[in-house]
């Protein structure tokens, strides 16, 4: 039996993950045609590369269908309830940095803190008759963050893409989204609240806490961990 390692199936995240493993003597590669999602592992016996969408890796880890997986902390914490019980972080890979932040229009000169956001939400609801809308795809993380801060009178509206445009399009008053440089936000006349971000995320290697392991697989994991220095 083999140890299954889940890696994002395309883009920079895949390339950088391949580089990170390669620097540690574990050579990962895609095989076959460009469109075929299969891979090969060199430098260690008994490890199988599984190419998956980064968004599906948390679920596969939690279900124990893969033993190891590379994905963002943001996706793990958003998608897995009680994530600490299902996966354990083995190594932060030092790329894919992104902060989950809350941003409001730059014109809101009166709003910089969560206190301000709460007060603005209260005023907004009184003026418009509905709760202030925050567009996001990170519902659980944002809700928990706003709950801890005691922000009321807001609602989350789902936005799976082009979230920065929702304010201008009048489908939301504020956004909660991942950003690395904040450039897209500024281009859309938004500013980040002067608070700790909801979450600081980076690409991380996780181990499933639920996947069954044979003795051989356990030995392979130990060998791999030694090579990776985790």
């Amino acid at each position: 039996m083999t140890l299954k390692l889940g890696v994002p199936s395309k883009g920079r995240l895949m390339e950088k993950t391949f580089d990170w493993f390669g620097e540690r003597g574990v050579k990962l590669a895609r095989t076959g045609s460009d469109r075929e999602y299969s891979g090969a592992v060199d430098g260690i016996e008994g490890v199988e590369l599984v190419l998956l969408s980064a968004g599906e890796i948390p679920r596969e880890l939690a279900a124990g269908r893969i033993h190891l997986g590379v994905t963002g902390t943001d996706l793990v914490q958003e998608k897995l309830v009680l994530w600490e019980q299902k996966v354990a972080p083995l190594a932060e890979l030092g790329f894919g940095f992104a902060d989950l932040i809350i941003a409001v229009p730059q014109a809101w000169v009166d709003v910089d803190t969560l206190d301000d956001l709460d007060a603005a939400a209260s005023g907004f609801r009184a003026a418009h008759g509905f709760r202030l809308r925050i567009a996001t795809k990170y519902h659980r993380l944002v809700r928990a963050y706003l709950h801890r801060a005691g922000v009321a009178d807001y609602q989350l509206v789902d936005s799976q893409g082009a979230t920065e445009g929702t304010v201008k399009n009048l489908t939301a008053e504020a956004v909660a989204d991942i950003t690395s440089t904040g450039e897209t936000l500024r281009a859309n006349h938004l500013k980040i609240l002067a608070e700790e971000p909801v979450l600081r995320s980076q690409a991380t290697l996780f181990r499933s806490r639920t996947a069954d392991m044979t003795d051989t697989e356990r030995a392979t994991l130990e060998q791999l961990e030694e090579m990776l220095g985790t």
Partner: protein, 359 residues
């Protein structure tokens, strides 16, 4: 323990409530999510199941009966009214997956404006008598005393309203008190804003629904707040002293009357508490041993605005076996212009079965 057994237990409790004069009612499992979201805010999504309906938008598996029973009463109920119901409620358990996500509740609700304190005592005594053999510990509280204290603060309407809005969020309430009293420094961003002559002068484009006028009006409010000066320390200390009251009803009443000397705004609410104690005594409840905690029910019982109570088992990891309280404001919010004093509570028959030792 089978569901059939628990249902039989629920029927037994409901029969007791019927005996006490309540009319049996029922309501739909699928409730409008919008109504509940508008009442409780986005947080309720972590505690209730929300699901899309092809026609009605979002619907919610009922997390309790109180809201639909109030709606039903406000639409067609005669006064006074006493209702009982039993049925499943559904709670998402994100933090505590070991807790039940579906369980039975049996409730008793009183809509009666003649004598609110007597109605409080009626509901509490009914629960206390029924639960007596189970060895639970009763705790009571009264959110109305805290709201009276906030309403009586020597502060601007704006500050009082901000505190009132967060009565049910103790940490936010605390932070606001600290900010208003100057214990917490003004954030640097706020200070910078207040120093600008015309903060809206920049070339920033206006986007979104929140208008220029709304932003300006909050900036004005922030200036007014800065000019108001700190909330007097003695007032903050009084609120803190009030929140710390945790005694048997008899001693709590004494302490609250002492506090009312310096905080006359709470006198009326404290006398309501005194009348409730009398009414409880008249119903055979021993108020010399009954616990009172002024902060009880602030974080978990969001629609209660007066008397609150809970019956707790000795198992610290269990939820309360029964809870209840007064929710006058809820009838006002759902009543579309009308309102009626209302008080009620629910029992969890499943927990009673476990206390009886049924496996």
């Amino acid at each position: 323990m089978s569901l059939t057994q628990t249902k039989a237990k629920a029927a037994e409790v409901r029969a007791v409530f019927e005996q006490a004069g309540a009319q049996v009612v029922d309501c739909a499992v699928l409730q409008s999510a919008e109504t509940l979201l508008d009442l409780y805010g986005e947080d309720i999504r972590t505690r209730a199941y929300v699901t899309p309906d092809p026609m009605r938008g979002e619907v919610m598996l009922r997390p309790d009966f109180t809201v639909p029973v109030v709606q039903m009463h406000m639409e067609q109920g005669a006064e006074p009214a006493r209702y009982t119901y039993s049925g499943e409620v559904f709670r998402r358990q994100e933090e505590h997956p070991e807790r039940a996500s579906e369980y039975l509740q049996v409730g008793y609700e009183v809509f009666d404006r003649t004598d609110p304190e007597a109605a409080d005592a009626e509901v509490f005594a009914l629960f206390a008598n029924y639960l007596a053999p189970y060895g639970t510990r009763a705790v009571t509280g009264d959110i109305g005393i805290l709201t009276a204290a906030v309403a009586g603060l020597k502060a601007s309407d704006r500050r009082r309203a901000a505190l009132m809005r967060h009565i049910w969020r103790p940490r936010r309430f605390r932070a606001l008190l600290d900010r208003f009293s100057g214990r917490l420094a003004v954030p640097v961003t706020r200070k910078a804003l207040l120093e600008l002559d015309d903060p809206m002068a920049g070339a920033v484009p206006m986007i979104g629904l929140r208008s220029h006028a709304e932003i300006s009006s909050r900036v004005d409010a922030l200036h007014a707040d800065a000019a108001e000066g700190p909330l007097a320390e003695e007032q903050v200390l009084l609120i803190e002293a009030l929140l710390k009251v945790s005694e048997t009803c008899e001693y709590a009443l004494e302490q609250l009357r002492d506090l009312a000397v310096d905080m006359p705004a709470i006198s009326e609410a404290v006398e309501r508490f005194a009348r409730r104690c009398d009414a409880l005594r008249a119903r055979g409840v021993d108020v010399t041993t009954l616990e009172f905690e002024a902060s009880y029910g602030r974080s978990s019982m969001e629609y209660y605005d007066g008397f609150v109570f809970g019956f707790l088992s000795a198992r610290a990891d269990w939820p309360a076996v029964a809870t209840g309280g007064r929710y006058d404001a809820l009838t006002r919010q759902l009543g579309k212009g009308s309102e009626i004093p209302a008080v009620g509570g629910v029992v969890r028959p499943g927990l009673l079965m476990q206390l009886e030792g049924v496996q």
